[in-house]
Amino acid sequence: MAPEPNLAARSPSRWGAQEWVAVAIFVAALAVPYATEDLLVHSIVNRVLIGAMAAFSVFIMLRMDLLSFATPAFMALGGYSAVLLAMNGVTEVLLIVPASFIVPALVALPLGALVLRLRGVYFVLVTFVLTEILQLIVFLTPGLTGGSDGLAGFPAPTLLGRDLSDAQSVLALAAAMALLAVVITAALTAHFRQHFAAIEENEVLAESLGLVVWRYKAMGFVVAAGIAGMAGFALGNMLLTVHPTSFGAQQAVDTIVYTIVGGRGSILGPVVGASLLVTAADFLGNQGQYAQGLFGLLLIFVTLVARGGITGAVVTLARRLRDARRTPDAPAAAASEAAARGGAGGGGGRGGGGAGGPEPMEATATGAAVAGVEELRVEGLTKRFGGLRVLEGISFTLAPGDILGVIGPNGAGKTTLINVITGRTPPSGGRILLGGHDITGEPTHTVSRRGVVRSFQQTNTFKSASVRENVSRALRFSGTAGAEGWARVAPLLEAFGLASRLDEQSDKLPYGLQKMLGLTLAYAADPKVLLLDEPAAGLERSERTRVDEFVHHVRARGCSVLIVEHDMDLVRRLCPRIIVLDAGVVLAEGPPAEVLSRKDVIDAYVGADAAEDEAA
């Protein structure tokens, strides 16, 4: 019944056509020096290769939504390292090319620990400053780097003793390095496609599903630095000098323009951008500065009109053509979608599946071992923001299989409680124990991997990705990928009506389904404890029974559940025990029927009479 075998579709980290085309282009470039002796062609191709390499570095950073102006700094590190090796007698390219990659990568590792915490404009500024600093360091160390004179007249590189100083070899070496760069870039961005896409789109969700975000950011930063370093060496080898002016802000701007104009969404973007723009600049004559105006206009144009750059526009066009050819199918697809939509809205009219409630899910249960038997214990949890007390001495225990409701008026601290338990916000005091093990202060991904996973109040999915891709990421980030993971999620997908819409983009789904997908993602991460933040908020009244189905389903598999919710009917239905939070403290605890009729609880919601009576 469950469509497990084809659920996962193709492996998400396989190379696509674009990766293969990019590699093929650089393999072809290897032949250029032997196909023509025209030195003008050599020069252009060489500069395209170097530009593309440098742009790959920017491209990798943009995968993580980080705009880096530090590419020239790493180019300089690579270039100077290689040239200094050559000047000290090491001319073997099998040594100096790796060195030009490794030195900047090694520098990037500790640097990344510092700068990758920054985001947006602050990251841009810091990388801009890095480039300036590196240039100044060169100026201030004439003994080592030649200062403002640069380093020229270094021995030509050799390959196993063979001299590589002739024009053909210079270009061939650049092409070989560029090929290496594209293979590394393709391998990295394809293998971790899901990780980077998730970091770019929704870092918070990725982390809550168990992804160690900083690890992938650091990896991207280090590899980007290494590739820039190779570009720096190739540049020095072409110019026969490494010079600080090659590694300034201008270089950063050019590289960024190549990437953005070519298209940041595809590995072909940097290739296309560098090829077209380097050639165009060449045709504008040797007044290189005039090309800058063209770059500027293109940058403005692309930003306003074609955000995906040239490759993005081509992909969009191709997709449109393909869809146009497929029009015969369209009405059928639309009809089935409309039917599904109607079903989602109607709720009760969902036919057999809905009427049966949780039963169909039970039927498809795979009998996966009941997850651990660890209890979550919260002891004296306190959180203050400045002088503001948000949580004060919260204690409770969530035993395996428990369903605990947490209610309270707005601003009572309910979401903060979830944030603190999942390590998103550090507590000011108190302890959180999972199965007796202290997890207080552990980062979100660790808490998640231990089995404490949350859902979010607002719909939280990877919006631009399909349903299938969303689930696939959740499984991969939580380390539970494979058939077993899909088998765990399949009944839920089936019950929510998501199984038939696996290839739809998640933010195009009806709101109720997006919300259910969010819950499914949390369960996909194989939790022992689920923390649900207002799972019913925004749902139609008729859709809310799906939350019940979900909770019953996960509980039947040994998961304990904490639900923050305002819908008291739902709380009454699901939770044998509830906690009332008011102004950060536990006001009451017990069965809902008892707690919800207490006078102090009602007062917390509707306001005490006493307050006004004092005034009168």
Binding site: L140, A249, Q289, G293
Partner: protein, 288 residues
């Protein structure tokens, strides 16, 4: 001792210029959340407009400065209104738009005026003697104009409805709109005000320093430094940081050599950015 005092005077005069530049830059970030890469371009453009007004139209220098302010302010306001405004909440897109504009401006200046620095000198010459100190008059004039402009800007931002509205929009755009403040009108005005300040500085300072199509490059870098040091979006911070940068630059060039002084500044700024991204003075215009 003489050397020390002279460097101090150069430092404060540099600081005043940097303050004027950094104020424009910080205003745009503080209010719109946009990093204006074209800021240096408006500085260079201001210089060339003033130069053209003097050399082509024969205008007196003060009028030429005024023309520079008007042209740069109008261009800035229009660019905001018609291009940046559409994507104002997308930081990557606005950076691309301003970076693109910078490339276009500097190439345009190159195309029209050529790569050579034109003959453009400050109309006031001579020195003022104060005891044993000789103060170049041109620096004093620049200092006076900059101080007046900074004072005027301060009054505008802190003492008028217009300034209150800009700060309110920076703090909470939606609530500001419910109080009747119109971003569609006020954002272009703020942008134009800021680019006009860059144009003013360019018109005043390039006759003393140098005028070239790429004169904006170092200006952008200095604005970055100053604004990070003072805290992105902070007005007081920008002024204080600009004076610090001015002094460090002046003294370093005398006692350490320019590059070492710059390196110290850059490393300081890097450390500040990493340790406290909001700068020494926090954010004043723009709420977290």
């Amino acid at each position: 001792m003489h050397e020390f005092l002279t460097a101090g005077i150069i430092g404060i005069s540099l600081g005043a210029q940097y303050a004027l530049l950094a104020l424009g830059f910080t205003l745009i970030f503080g209010i719109l959340g946009v990093i204006n890469f074209a800021h240096g371009g408006f500085y260079a453009l201001g210089g060339y407009v003033a130069y053209a007004a003097v050399s082509q139209l024969g205008l007196p220098f003060p009028l030429a400065v005024l023309a520079a302010v008007i042209v740069t302010a109008a261009l800035g306001a229009l660019y905001e209104r018609f291009l940046i405004e559409r994507l104002v909440d997308d930081h990557l897109a606005t950076m691309m738009l301003t970076l693109g504009l910078y490339l276009v401006i500097s190439t345009g200046l190159l195309a029209v005026f050529g790569p050579q620095s034109p003959e453009f000198s400050f109309p006031v010459k001579g020195t003022l003697r104060a005891g044993t100190l000789y103060l170049p008059l041109e620096n004093l004039v620049v200092l006076a104009v900059c101080a007046a402009a900074i004072g005027g800007l301060w009054l505008l931002i802190y003492r008028t409805d217009f300034g209150r509205a800009l700060r309110a929009l920076a703090d909470d755009r939606k609530v500001a709109m419910t109080q009747g403040m119109r971003p569609g009108l006020l954002f272009p005005l703020a942008f134009g005000l800021a680019t006009g300040l860059a144009g003013l500085t360019g018109a005043l300072v390039t006759p003393i320093l140098a005028l070239s199509p790429s004169a904006g490059d170092p200006v952008l870098v200095t604005s970055f430094l100053t604004v990070i040091l003072g805290g992105l979006g902070s007005i007081t911070g920008a002024v204080v940081a600009a004076i610090i940068v001015g002094f460090v630059e002046a003294y370093a060039s005398v006692y350490l050599g320019g590059s070492a002084g710059a390196l110290i500044l850059f490393v300081t700024v890097l450390v500040i950015l990493l340790a406290r991204p909001t700068g020494l003075f926090g954010r004043e215009i723009r709420g977290a």
